[in-house]
Subunit: 368 residues, 2 copies
Amino acid sequence: MREGGGDQVVVAVVVLQPGRDVAALAGVSSRTVSNVVNGYAPVSEATRARVQQAVDELGYRPNVLARNLAAGRSGQIAVVVPYLDTPYFAELLQGIIRAARVQGYNVLIDQTDGDAEHEKLFLSGGSQHLLFDGVIFSPLGLAQSDLSERDASLPLVVLGERVSNGTFDHIGIDDVTASREATEHLLGLGRRRVAAIGRPALPHRRGGPAAHPRLPFGPRAGRHTRPGGVRHLHPALQPLRRRHRHGPPAGPRRTSGRGLFFYSDLVALGALHTLASHGLRVPEDVAIVGYDDIEDARYSNPPVTTVSPDKKLIAETAVARLLKRIGSSTPVPGMEIRTPHRLIPRASTMGRQAPAPGTTDKPSAPGR
Amino acid sequence: MREGGGDQVVVAVVVLQPGRDVAALAGVSSRTVSNVVNGYAPVSEATRARVQQAVDELGYRPNVLARNLAAGRSGQIAVVVPYLDTPYFAELLQGIIRAARVQGYNVLIDQTDGDAEHEKLFLSGGSQHLLFDGVIFSPLGLAQSDLSERDASLPLVVLGERVSNGTFDHIGIDDVTASREATEHLLGLGRRRVAAIGRPALPHRRGGPAAHPRLPFGPRAGRHTRPGGVRHLHPALQPLRRRHRHGPPAGPRRTSGRGLFFYSDLVALGALHTLASHGLRVPEDVAIVGYDDIEDARYSNPPVTTVSPDKKLIAETAVARLLKRIGSSTPVPGMEIRTPHRLIPRASTMGRQAPAPGTTDKPSAPGR
DNA sequence: TTGAAAGCGCTAACAG
DNA sequence: CTGTTAGCGCTTTCAA
C-alpha cells in the first residue's frame, strides 16, 4: 500500500486547547463554538449543526473551571445547615438539590453543627470567595443581630425562625400559629394539662400562654434530637406525676388528661421511647404532638400527630428566590415569606381512630 | 498642616486585580504573594510578614475560580447517593463532609434516585467536566458491568455492594457474614422459622441457605423505605400465619418462634409499624433484626436489633482513599476494603432484657 | 529567594 | 450572524 519507502505522515490529534480545536474543525471561531455550546441565540442552523458535529467528533466538553472564571460566576449555590443527619434537613436538602439542578445549579453542602463562628463564616462568603453564587442558610447558633452585619453583596436566603432585615429573604412557616394550633388540638381533645417543650420563647411571648393559661412551657431542648427527647422529658414528667406523688410508687401510672407538644418530631420520638419504657401509654396516658412531619413520625408506634410544613414548597421557593437574587444586578429587597402548614392528626393524640400511614395517610411530599 | 494651598493627593485604592494590588503594596511580585497565601516554602520571614500585612490591610481573598483554573483542579469532590433523605446516607454524608473539610475539600452532593442513566453520567465525570476532582459513589440502579466501562481517569471510590474491578476502590462491610450473623442470632434465640427480606441474591448464593435450610428468602424490597416495609411485609406474613389459618379469624394472633431479618432498618421500621397495627407483638410474636444502625432504630418502640456498620470509619476511609487517588500522578490500584461491623442486640429480639437506648446503649458514632 | 511573563480555556465586548 | 481579541486572577516555568 505504501508507495516507495517515502514519507509517511502521521496525523496526531493533540487536544491542547479543546475549544480552539473544535473551532478549527468546524471552520468557525471559538466565539461561535461558545455560542453553540451555551445555546446563545445568534447562530445560524447550518453553523450550529457543523459545530455540533465537531463537538461530538472530538468528544469536546467545555472546561467548567475556565468558564466560571471568565463568566465570573460559579454556577454553584451553598446550602448551610446545622445537621445533615436530622431528617428534617435531609428532606429539605433533597428538595433544594432537585430544584437547583433543574436550574443548572450545583449544590455545595456544609454543616455547621450549630456553631456560631462557623455560621458567621458564610455570611461573608466564607474563605471560599466566589466559590458559590449564593447561600441558602439555616442558622442555629447565630443571633439575629449577626445576620445584620453580613456582607450584603452575597445573595442570601434564610430558612427557619429568624427574621429578614431587608437584605435577604426569609422563608418559614408561621410558627406562632402552628404552635397555637398544636396546643389547641390537645386542649380540644380534652387534655387539661398541656406542656410545650423545645422552644418556649416564641409562643411564650407572642400569644401562647395568653390563650392557654394552663400551658407551662418546658425547657428549651437545645439541639433537637431523639436523645434530647429522652433527657428533656424528665422535667416534663414531673407535672405529669404530681397528682400521683402520693400514689403507689411502682407500676405503670395512670395520668390521663395530659398532653405534650414538642417543637420537633425528633424530640417527640425520643420522648415516645421514654414514655414507653416508663410504662406510660400514648395517647391514653399522655397525648403527643410533634413538629416537622418527618417520615419517622408517620411510622412510629404510635404514629405522631404533627405540624407539617410544606418542605417541598419551602425548598423550591428558597431556590427560586436565591436565583432571582443572583440573577439581579440591582439589589432585590428582602422578603418575609410564609409557607403553608397543616396539623396532621395521628394516633398519638387520636388513638386507633386515626388513619394509619400506608393506608389512607397521604405523604405531604408526593414524590417520595 | 498643609503647606500653602498646594496639591492634595487623594489616593483611591481601586481593587482591580486583587493579587497585584497586594503585591504592589507589599513591594513584591504576585508570585511571592501566591507563595505566601498558599504557604509555599521559599519565602523569607521578613517578606512573608510584609505580604501578610498587605493581605490583611486590603482584605484580600484569593479568587478560588481563578486558582482552580490555573491549578487545573477544583478542590471539590462529588458524593453521589441514591437518596438523601435515607438516614443511612444522611449519616454517611455527614461523616464524608467532615472528613473532606479537614482536608480542605468541598463536597458537592448529587442524588440519583437510583436511576441508572443518571448514575452513569458520573462515571464519565458528568457534564461537569473538571468540576470535581473525584467521586464517592453509592450506586443503586447501575449494574456491576457499567462500572467497568467507566472513564478510569476520574478518581473513584465506590460504597456498598459492588465489587472493584481494579480501577477504583470499593468499601463496604462483609454483608454475607453480617447477614449470617443476623439470622444466626435469630436462630440462636430459638426462632424456628426465619425469613430474610430485602436482598435475597447475595446470601442465597454465598452461604446463606446452606447454613440455614429453614431460611425462606423473601422478596427483594427495591428501594429501602418504611413504606416498603409495610408493602413487603405481606408476603412475609403469609408463612407467619400459615399455622393459624384455621384458627380464629379475628383478634391478635400468637405466632411465637418467628424471626424476620430485614436488609435495612428502614424497612424493618415499616414492618414494625405494620406488625403493631396487626396486633402482633415484637419480639413475643415476631423477632426483628434490621441493618444499618440508623438512629431511628435505636429509639423505635421497641428498639430494633441491628447490624451496625462503622459509618464514621467508612466515611473517613472513603475520603482518605479518594484523596490518595486524586493526589497520585500514577494510577493507584483498586482496593477491596472491608470495614468492621457488629450486631447490636436490642429489644426487638431480646425483649425487655435488652438495654434501652439513652441509658447504657452507646451510640456507635460518639460525636453525635 | 524573587521577578517577569506566559498561559489555564473560556466568555464577551467590539467590530464587521 | 460571526471573527478578533482582550481579559478573568491566579499559578508556575524560567531567569536573575
